[in-house]
């Protein structure tokens, strides 16, 4: 007989572990095949492992192969083993496959992975401990043990997915792991690559839907309705009946917002955007927009909320930019601060204050914290070798030096990295270094610097983390990053720089130095608050009363979760430290990265020019928020989500509900007499609302948005099934039914308008104006679904909320902003598609070419930086290419170079 296995196919684990049983009974040949090879002639999809029997028949089931090996060794089939194997095939296998797919292919972690298998793991653990046998079917290892071990090994080998409380499962798993055949199987299949060895195989597998239907996908499927208990229904109905009266009284608006004893005080910060550039969509979703949703939600919960942000303005990058644009650093900051502020205003970000770091308060607070650290012995001094330009009379930051790469000889290597060979360079190792400003040769000088003694603070930090992180809403990636930094051990970090544009160091001998940005940027939150209110310490030196939520992209985690807490703990001034650190992954653009220099991607200021309203941008960015894994912005997907979710689902439902009230009932909400069907709907909506609350309390912003869409889907279905437009023409009972359905629907619409407020504030306000929803009902989101539009309530004029996005509109935007689809391809099919471009688009491209041509000419006239000119020229060439394609002209071959 011949066994076919494939590297990285999980089924090979139990099969190889069981193969030893057949030894001496039959000759076994083992062949390795590719994961896509169709070994079994009668199966449509490739399947490995497979055992070809001597009579020519095939065993394509992993379990059947193992069973066969055991049968050969003289084992007899028994009921208990059969039961375990059937359970493995029907329950365990789908759950494990879903978990592995999540973990290995989609790169998810934690509960996303564990969630689908937890029940199965608990079942095994209970069976083991109830029978108090070391193995599944008794005192000795048997077929069932091998098959289940093989199914579970890829997942459980990572201790994170073997819950500690499952003690019996734990020791069973360890016992099997230590068996020689199992160890050998692991060695052969995973080849010491761990679970990643399974990736090529799993990627090729069709994703089976799990029995729970809980597989994560970007598109919501038909949700299966939860089963409702009588209790759930009774509670939902009684809450509904209480109506408006049960709303709490509104908090009076405070100015400034200050913490109040006995209340929940929520302080929200979003990472400070760096001032020298226009933020792109990834920056916006990573910090300000995510924090804004949470801040708005927090206010809807009537929590005492302060949301602040500002621009981070000090540092080398600002100085560079200033030199490029021929302005002073201060002028650069003023210019870009205004750009940032206007972009966020357009996106409707509800800051209580949007400040900046170049203020006297920043100097005062930073210097105070530094003094305290210095007095307490947490600051070290050391000498660093650096390049200094004598002509400019200053030390050169890495990006101010250029020279010959010491590794590959490339002429224009930068001070930190060579663009040609990609190796990291220490600026002092560059051959023939040149000051980028004056082109003279810098010399190596030593310079004294200050270091924050992180190793000395490490123990305090760990104690604080132990107290803070468990049970908090720190995102898994943040926990992971901090853990890995601590595992590698903290090292002293330099906190000063030889620059002018920064917070001065208040220490003798350091007068010509400033603090390094990452030391004082996080202090920016404090100084921005201090500029907002002189009572800023009520927020920042009040850890008992204040809940601090900090939003950022994952690259900022070390500064917020480690460096700033160390600084604050060392300063010993009772600072408020982060309680919940919410970090996103990265957002990509189409199939690449956002790139300012290559002109790829949508940047904050351009979003306004697309003609797509801010709320649609907010919706789509939040819908694809990189929560738990990287995600990508895609124009096609934006169009799809707008047209399917907003227009056809949410907009359609809310509009229909309102229209029925206007058309059939003269704009007056009709009497509602709830049948048991209505009560069930009411309960489903209530449960979904509570789910929304649970998710948002944990800042799972993207997932909570799905709840809104689910409710409106329920609503649409409800209207579709009950057909009020038909019943309104029927008899008395029918008309009453039409009234109840319409009344329920419009109340759901009112609820949705409030749930939507954190995500789409303008649309939310529009709905509320159309429905004439009362102020308290607009301002508070209770945990139950209440009747906020009682019978007799008069609504306003109803009109559609969303516009359809058209294909050609999106296509021209995609062309305009660059990205995957415009890559020039020699395939005629693509050219044909582009030649049909409208004259409007050609005109647009021509304008672009002219504009870009002027930029290049201007730069050349100014004798600007070579790299910068090159980048602009590249853009120009690309535009010309697009234009040529759009006009249907053949491409000109670049001069002097052969076409491939």
């Amino acid at each position: 007989m011949r066994l076919f296995v494939s590297e990285g196919a999980p089924g090979s684990l139990p099969v190889l572990a069981a193969a030893g049983r057949a030894q001496g009974k039959a000759e076994l040949l083992i062949s390795t095949v590719g994961p896509e090879e169709c070994v079994v002639p009668f199966l449509t999809r490739p399947k490995v492992p497979v055992l070809q029997l001597d009579n020519g028949n095939y065993l394509f089931s992993t379990t059947a192969i193992c069973r066969y090996f055991f049968l050969l060794s003289g084992w007899e089939q028994d009921d208990l083993t059969n039961q375990w194997l059937e359970w493995e095939a029907t329950e365990l296998q789908p759950a494990v496959s879903a978990a592995l797919y999540c973990l290995v292919v989609q790169g998810k972690k934690g509960e996303d992975v564990l969630g689908s298998v937890r029940r199965a793991l608990t079942h095994i653990d209970h069976s083991l401990s109830r029978r108090s046998c070391p193995f599944l079917t008794g005192e000795t290892e048997s077929l069932a043990d091998i098959v289940l071990w093989g199914a579970l090994y890829p997942l459980l080998q990572d201790a994170a997915y073997l819950p500690e409380e499952l003690g019996a499962l734990h020791s069973w798993f360890q016992t099997l792991n230590s068996q020689e055949p199992c160890q050998q199987a692991v060695e052969t299949v995973l080849k010491q690559h761990g679970i990643l060895a399974l990736r090529p195989y799993l990627q090729k597998q069709p994703q089976l839907s799990s029995p729970e239907g809980k597989l994560v996908s970007n598109d919501p499927e038909e949700e299966e309705l939860a089963t409702l208990s009588e209790e759930d229904i009774a509670m939902a109905v009684s809450a509904w009946e209480k109506g408006l009266g049960s709303l709490p009284t509104l908090r009076p608006q405070q100015n400034p917002v200050l913490p109040v004893a006995g209340e929940r005080n929520v302080l929200i910060t979003s990472a400070l955007p760096y001032v020298n550039n226009v933020p792109h969509l990834g920056n916006i979703i990573g910090c300000v927009l995510s924090a804004d949703v949470f801040a708005r939600y927090s206010r809807l919960r009537q929590w005492n909320t302060l949301y602040l942000c500002g621009t981070d303005e000090y540092g080398t990058a600002t100085e560079t930019k200033a030199m490029e644009e021929g302005l002073t650093p201060q002028e650069i900051c003023d210019k870009y601060y205004a750009i940032h502020a206007s972009i966020y205003r357009w996106f409707n970000i509800s800051f209580d204050t949007f400040g900046r770091t170049t203020t006297p308060q920043q100097t005062k607070i930073t210097q105070d914290i530094f003094q305290r650290l210095y007095e307490r012995g947490f600051v070290l001094q050391d000498t660093v070798e650096q390049l200094r330009c004598e002509r400019c009379a200053r030390f050169l930051a890495d990006r101010f030096v250029e020279g010959v790469c010491p590794f590959c000889g490339y002429e224009e290597a930068r001070g930190d990295q060579c663009d040609k060979c990609g190796k990291l360079i220490n600026a002092t190792e560059l051959k023939k270094p040149q000051c980028k400003v004056c082109r003279s040769c810098p010399v190596v000088r030593s310079s004294r610097h200050l270091f924050l003694d992180l190793p000395k603070l490490e123990e305090r930090l760990e104690r604080w983390l132990e107290k803070t992180v468990p049970g908090s809403d720190w995102t898994p990636n943040a926990r992971f990053i901090i853990r890995s930094w601590l595992r590698d051990g903290l090292k002293p970090r330099c906190i000063t720089r030889d620059l002018k544009w920064g917070t001065p160091v208040p220490l003798e001998g350091f007068e010509d130095k400033v603090f390094y940005v990452w030391f004082d940027a996080t202090i920016g939150y404090l100084s921005i608050t201090a500029n907002y209110t002189d009572q800023w310490e009520k927020w920042w030196k009040n850890p008992e009363q204040v809940d601090l939520y900090q939003f950022m992209a994952k690259d900022n985690v070390p500064f917020h979760g480690l460096v700033f807490p160390c600084t604050a703990l060392g300063a010993e001034d009772n600072y408020t430290l982060v309680s919940h650190l919410i970090a996103t992954e990265y957002l990509n653009y189409e199939d690449g990265k956002f790139s300012k220099s290559r002109g790829v991607g949508v940047f904050g200021d351009m979003a306004q020019d697309t003609g797509i309203p801010a709320d649609i941008w907010r919706f789509y960015l939040l819908y694809i928020r990189p929560e738990g894994q990287d995600s990508a912005f895609s124009w096609t997907d934006l169009l799809l989500k707008n047209n399917s979710e907003l227009l056809n689902n949410l907009g359609n439902f809310i509009n229909r509900a309102g229209m029925f009230v206007s058309k059939f009932f003269g704009g007056c909400v009709p009497e509602m007499v709830l049948t048991s069907d209505d009560q069930r709907l009411l309960t489903h909506v209530t449960l979904e609302l509570q789910h929304y609350h649970q998710l948002l309390e944990k800042a799972r912003i993207r997932d909570a948005l799905r709840s809104i869409l689910t409710i409106s889907r329920h609503g649409n279905q409800y209207i579709q099934v009950n057909e009020p437009w038909k019943r309104i023409k029927g008899n008395e009972a029918d008309r009453q039914r039409a009234g109840t359905v319409t009344g329920m629907a419009v109340n759901i619409a009112a609820l949705l308008s409030v749930m939507l407020q954190p995500y789409m504030p303008t649309v939310s306000a529009t709905i509320q104006a159309q429905l004439q929803l009362s102020l308290p009902a607009c301002s508070v989101l209770p945990t139950n679904f209440l009747c906020t539009l009682p019978a007799g309530h008069q609504i306003g004029t109803v009109s559609p909320l969303f516009q359809k996005l058209e294909n050609d509109q999106i296509e021209s935007l995609r062309q305009h902003f660059g990205g995957g689809q415009v890559k020039v391809s020699p395939k005629p099919a693509v050219e044909e598609a582009v030649t049909t471009a409208g004259s409007q688009q050609i005109q647009m491209l021509m304008d672009e070419v002219t504009k870009q041509g002027n930029i290049v000419r201007e730069l050349k006239a100014q004798k600007a930086d070579k790299n910068q000119i090159a980048a602009e020229v590249a853009k120009l060439l690309d535009l010309k290419k697009q234009l040529a394609l759009a006009e249907g002209k053949p491409l000109e071959a670049p001069k002097g170079k052969k076409k491939k």
């Binding site: 028949n57 059947a64 194997l85």
Partner: protein, 174 residues
């Protein structure tokens, strides 16, 4: 057909005395049998194999070692693929695979009638009833097998008799 009902049919065919009572478990309605020694057995194929042994008809689980493994493989196929979440596309794939497997075979193991044939017949009946004449002809090997099993003494019981036409109507189709 609910799994418990199917087991009752099997019992009748095996001529077992006493008539067991089945409960079901979970959303998938997995059957559970309380055995005489106080233990319970869960799962369709597990219980079916148990009943076969009770009736002293162990040959239905396969004569040779190879057959035993093949029978269990098709029983697993029954509960994972035939009972799994089935879209139209999946059913078509399943019938296609089964059809090409059955080429040149009388029963699933080849020449011996086994429990695998019985349970696959019960599981598929629901789909086969709805096939068009053309489809039945397309999956010719499968149709022959199915027709053969439904005429095996005592198997069909109250299930409807599926008509297969012997002369080929769509000869040009393939």
């Amino acid at each position: 057909m609910a799994a418990a009902g199917e087991l009752t049919l099997l019992e009748k065919w095996l001529v077992l005395q006493g008539g067991h009572k089945y409960s079901v478990q979970g959303k998938q309605q997995v059957p559970v049998l309380q055995t005489n020694n106080g233990l319970s057995l869960t799962g369709l194929t597990t219980i079916a194999a148990h009943l076969v042994k009770q009736a002293n008809k162990e040959y239905l689980l396969g004569y040779t070692t190879e057959e035993k493994a093949i029978v269990q493989q098709w029983l697993e196929y029954r509960v994972t693929r035939v009972d799994g979440p089935c879209g139209k596309e999946e059913v078509r794939t399943l019938l296609k695979n089964l059809n090409s497997y059955l080429e040149g075979k009388v029963y699933l193991t080849g020449y011996n009638f086994t429990l695998a044939d019985v349970l696959l017949y019960y599981g598929l009946h629901y789909f086969i009833v709805d096939l068009t004449v053309q489809e039945k002809e397309k999956y010719l090997n499968m149709s022959c097998w199915f027709c053969h099993i439904q005429h095996y003494p005592g198997i069909r019981q109250h299930l409807s008799h599926v008509i297969f036409i012997k002369n080929r109507l769509y000869a040009n189709a393939h």
